[in-house]
Subunit: 138 residues, 2 copies
């Protein structure tokens, strides 16, 4: 897959309403499903699908951006542990999942993807409030 | 959790027989369950639980080690996509899962953790052969 046929490059995903912050090499968006509160996605601005396609300094800057978001989410949501994943099985364009795991998590020992649940979509006011809290911590 | 009560620091996990390579800041081990062929774990040598606890240069070196292993696994297993995850829900000590996703994957669009399966444990000869192939590609 190249930039030409990549949904992330075409601007269709993630939705603009989920935008949290431009971090430099990547842009952070609140995940549409907030069943796990604070789940955030960092999307690399340029098209690449594996970290080994990046230059070393680019890779270092990107992991620093992921880390800065993780630190902010940990603070805002008082996380017990942070989870980080770059999968790309559905959207190969490099994007990081950064997920705070909180006290009261329904399956604290398991990856979030194993937890069946109805998607929790925030209403506009809730979403804006959560995004504002994350921005303030960045 | 500190180094004193951390299973990874006490040397009980992963098993020595799974050892692939010392990469500098981390050590690579073949995952005991090879249902997803090539699944490898990189364990940070020193005790830390979140990437934001590391110095910037340490974080950059660690992601370079993860990336080098990913590139090797991609080559050895002819991966369609590589998956990367730092979770720590069960063992908080920093360790990265690096998993090649292959043609013929039973659930190519899903995270590996969602795929029910009996663990695939290699016998000694198989395990040594796989580890040798990974080492040769590193």
């Amino acid at each position: 897959m190249s930039a030409v046929d990549c949904g992330a490059c075409q601007g269709g995903w993630p939705a603009r309403a989920q935008h949290v912050a431009d971090l430099g090499l990547s842009v952070a968006y609140l995940h549409e499903d907030e069943f796990f509160s604070g789940w955030t996605i960092l999307v690399l601005k340029r098209h690449a699908t594996e970290p080994y396609e990046l230059a070393g300094d680019e890779r270092a800057r990107l992991i620093d951006e992921v880390t800065a978001v993780a630190r902010a989410l940990s603070t805002v949501f008082n996380a017990v542990k942070m989870n980080y994943a770059l999968l790309g099985n559905q959207v190969p364009h490099i994007h990081w999942h950064v997920v705070p795991r909180l006290a009261g998590d329904p399956a604290p020992r398991e990856p979030v993807w194993t937890v069946p649940h109805a998607p929790a979509t925030l209403d506009d006011a809730e979403r804006r409030a959560v995004i504002a809290r994350i921005r303030a911590a960045l």
